[in-house]
């Protein structure tokens, strides 16, 4: 199971080896993966100050740099639905622009501030859809206690890798709560993206019964899928 997740992500991001988070002792804490530098930090600070002064190029540069990891590795894995995820990203950036002048430099950079806005919007969206589950409760709890893992000026691809590792760990932990059959159904259909017929054959059931197993597996996964 874990190897299949790693394989999937490694295939997607061949340039960035995925650190298996169940072996932290071997690879070190995830936060150590982020390369920081005073120059990069100073550059980010200068961009923020310029953007606060009304420099649109600086604003664009700042948002473009940080939006990709935010969207790909924070918003999408927590929303799933692309249309809703795009709305959340748009609202996040809109709110950030609106409140830009309230941002005060504390040394950790712009990303944690942006991420916090996004997490609040994700929670609000879950509430508005009246689908509050343990997952949303967990998400809210984690949003409150989350400490910024990134340093100012961190490369966006490294931020994305770290965020993706968090998303994968969430998925792994949720998958571990499933029975073997349910987990197999999710792996075959969603992680390996195999056709339903093949999945059904692999599990030795009809396609109709496979659909039911997958439906039950996802309903169980929904309860266990905490968000951090």
């Amino acid at each position: 199971m874990r190897s299949s997740l790693v394989l999937a992500v490694a295939l997607t991001f061949p340039a960035f080896p995925v650190i298996p988070l169940w072996e932290p002792a071997k690879y070190g804490p995830a936060r150590h993966a982020v390369v920081t530098g005073d120059a990069a930090s100073a550059e980010e600070r200068a961009l923020i100050e310029a953007a606060q002064q009304g420099d649109h190029d600086a604003l664009r540069s700042l948002l473009e740099r940080l939006s990709r990891p935010l969207y790909a590795a924070v918003i999408l894995p927590r929303i799933g639905n692309r249309v809703d995820a795009e709305d959340v990203l748009r609202d996040t950036l809109s709110r950030a622009v609106e409140k830009l002048n309230t941002f005060r430099w504390t040394g950790v950079g712009f990303y944690p501030w942006l991420r916090q806005i996004a997490m609040r919007l994700i929670i609000d969206r879950a509430r508005s859809k009246a689908r509050r589950t343990r997952a949303e409760d967990e998400m809210e709890r984690q949003a409150g206690v989350l400490q910024p893992l990134h340093h100012a000026g961190a490369l966006e691809m490294l931020i994305e890798q770290q965020e993706r590792s968090v998303a994968l760990r969430m998925l792994e932990e949720a998958m571990d709560t499933l029975s073997d059959r349910y987990r197999q159904a999710v792996e075959l259909r969603l992680l390996q993206e195999r056709p339903r017929e093949e999945c059904a054959t692999e599990m030795g059931v009809t396609v109709n019964n496979f659909d039911v197993i997958l439906h039950r597996a996802l309903a169980a996964l929904r309860k266990a899928y905490g968000v951090r």
Partner: protein, 166 residues
């Protein structure tokens, strides 16, 4: 390839009801990209979103991410531009309104300085009316003379359109 019989395996839990089978089929259809836009029952939609979360976590689409980010950043920068102009125009409008108010107030003050109508006093020096000897003609009646004096005073003021002569 022969399909296994449509018997339910008890290891997979209790046998599904007809409704559950229907939901499962709807979900299976919804997981096909072309069916994403279909309106779904909220419960099925919630489960579908979990499936999409798994998929987006494991297999993000770089093209989609790039497009979504590009659009959102464009919107945000445009919004910042509009805010800037709005702020600037608000400042201009407030300044113009303040200048107009000051100008109008100043002009009124200056104009009133020349034409201010002071209400004439209705009191008259006693000597003007009562120190005269009382005659036999109506014009010598002190009350009539007092009234005439007041009316003359008012008339003078209004005909001149200005302050009462000292």
């Amino acid at each position: 390839m022969s399909q296994p019989p449509d018997d339910w395996n008890p290891e997979d839990g209790p046998p599904p009801t007809a409704d559950e089978r229907e939901d499962a089929r709807t979900l299976a259809d919804a997981l096909v990209s072309s069916a994403h836009t279909r309106a779904l029952d909220p419960d099925v939609e919630a489960v579908r979103d979990v499936a999409l979360r798994v998929r987006e976590t494991a297999h993000p689409d770089p093209d989609h991410v790039r497009g979504a980010v590009h659009t959102a950043v464009d919107d945000a920068v445009r919004q910042a531009g509009q805010r800037k102009w709005r702020t600037r125009w608000t400042l201009v409008a407030v300044s113009a309104a303040a200048a107009t108010a000051l100008g109008v107030g100043g002009a009124q003050y200056a104009w009133r300085g020349d034409v201010t109508v002071h209400r004439p006093s209705i009191s008259r020096p006693g000597s003007d009316a009562f120190d005269q000897p009382v005659g036999t003609n109506p014009g010598s009646d002190p009350i009539a003379r007092l009234t005439d004096t007041r009316m003359r005073s008012y008339r003078d003021v209004f005909l001149r359109g200005g302050r009462r002569a000292p």
